[in-house]
Subunit: 222 residues, 2 copies
DNA sequence: GATAACATTTAGGGCAGCCTAAAAATATAT
DNA sequence: ATATATTTTTAGGCTGCCCTAAATGTTATC
């Protein structure tokens, strides 16, 4: 069974919004915002996806993926992240340039292709933004990282990912000399605006607004 | 300006059929056969493509690409052939496995991607089936090869391409040990059925039906 | 030049995926 | 508990791309 690009994008959007509202299902408005279209259009599509047993949908109650729908969503994410890694590792794109292209490539249909691609780029477990790449069975390697803004203490941290993938944010990090794997030492916490004074890789002093710190995912170094 | 996958496929089909009827334009029936849909649907789309200045279309007179339409068609073909080459050279696909995947990949929109891909695979001038890959300006390196069936003489030939890309034909060639770049010595021409007895690479004796010989593109070796 | 065969277009319609406006359900505030 | 705000669905409609059946144009044949 094959699905349209539109259907795949709905599944992916539902999957990505699923953990925000950890109680019930994903809302129609939320989805329409994520997908950049109108709520009425979403309702329309939800009926069709339910028909195809990809989601469980009850009027006014929000939507959750069936296991079939979830498998498919994870597969799209797997393809997206493998292609992003390919673009960065093999074609020398920068991490802020790959998302839009991967949005297209994630819909190419061929299991053989994606498995060979994975092998070609050396079976990476994380993509250029630090996001885990599910294996062909849909298993993720999660890191227990948190936003830097949730640590209210000085200390040494390791940058493992970002929770905001916009070009402008990624370019900002690049401009302050920060990339995945870098060490971040928090020297000062400013109580007034919750901003940070940090040292990157032991030599580069920078200031992070709370907004920046909230999109930087780190683990505390022992 | 961006075009739909469907529109791109029409442009490519028109381009590929263009040289058959070297006099006038491409016919509606021809196109419907190539695109696996009905003539009425083709008429419908031709009106839209004409509206967008991609083709010149006059009722009942057939269709020709405008220079804008031709540039686009060549770009799609360029992408198709570069992706096929990538799949064979980097991901170890066989030449009979790549066409369907490239049919999808040829519609990915990113000039930067296709130029980097070209460089990554070493700026090849021909794809895995011997077809010339246009450069980023749309220039082809044509080989003046002809079907083996058009040479009515014994002699030494070099296989430069194939004019039939079906899986079954390509697998047949593989099974007789023939690939691009091989030498073919014609030992006997059978006048009764226009079949050929040949020696491949000086040691492998095979028989080609006229049908096979008509899809093998060769140049005569001096 | 009339007629038959073939190619092409027109007419009318379906489905996917989107829209706006209005109605209905649910959540929030007083 | 009622009024108000917010979310969601329904109703009706549009565009792109496809279809079948019927009409029309073109080409071939006698
Ligand atoms: Mn991305
Ligand atoms: Mn990513
Ligand atoms: Mn091909
Ligand atoms: Mn090819």
């Amino acid at each position: 069974m094959q699905f349209s690009v539109t259907e795949e994008n709905y599944l992916k959007a539902i999957y990505m919004l699923r953990e925000n509202n950890d109680g019930g299902g994903v809302g129609t408005n939320e989805l329409s915002q994520q997908l950049q279209n109108k709520a009425a259009s979403v309702t329309d599509m939800l009926k069709r996806l339910a028909e195809k047993k990809l989601i469980n949908y009850q009027k006014y109650k929000g939507v959750v993926l069936t296991s079939r729908g979830e498998k498919l969503a994870i597969k799209i994410i797997r393809k997206h992240r493998l292609w992003e890694t390919f673009l960065v590792e093999k074609l020398s794109f920068k991490w802020d340039e790959v998302h839009e292209i991967a949005e297209q490539l994630e819909h190419i249909q061929s299991d053989e292709l994606i498995n060979r691609l994975e092998n070609f780029i050396g079976n990476p477990r994380f993509d250029p933004h630090g996001d885990p790449i599910p294996d062909s069975k849909g298993q993720f390697n999660f890191l227990k990282s948190k936003p830097l803004s949730q640590f209210n203490q000085k200390g040494n941290y390791l940058l493992t990912g970002v929770s905001e993938h916009s070009k402008s944010f990624l370019q900002h990090l690049t401009s302050v000399g920060l990339k995945i794997g870098d060490s971040i030492k928090v020297d000062e916490l400013n109580a007034f605006d919750n901003s940070y004074k940090v040292t990157i890789n032991k030599k580069n002093i920078q200031f992070f607004s709370n907004k920046v710190a909230s999109h930087i995912l780190v683990v505390l170094k022992k």
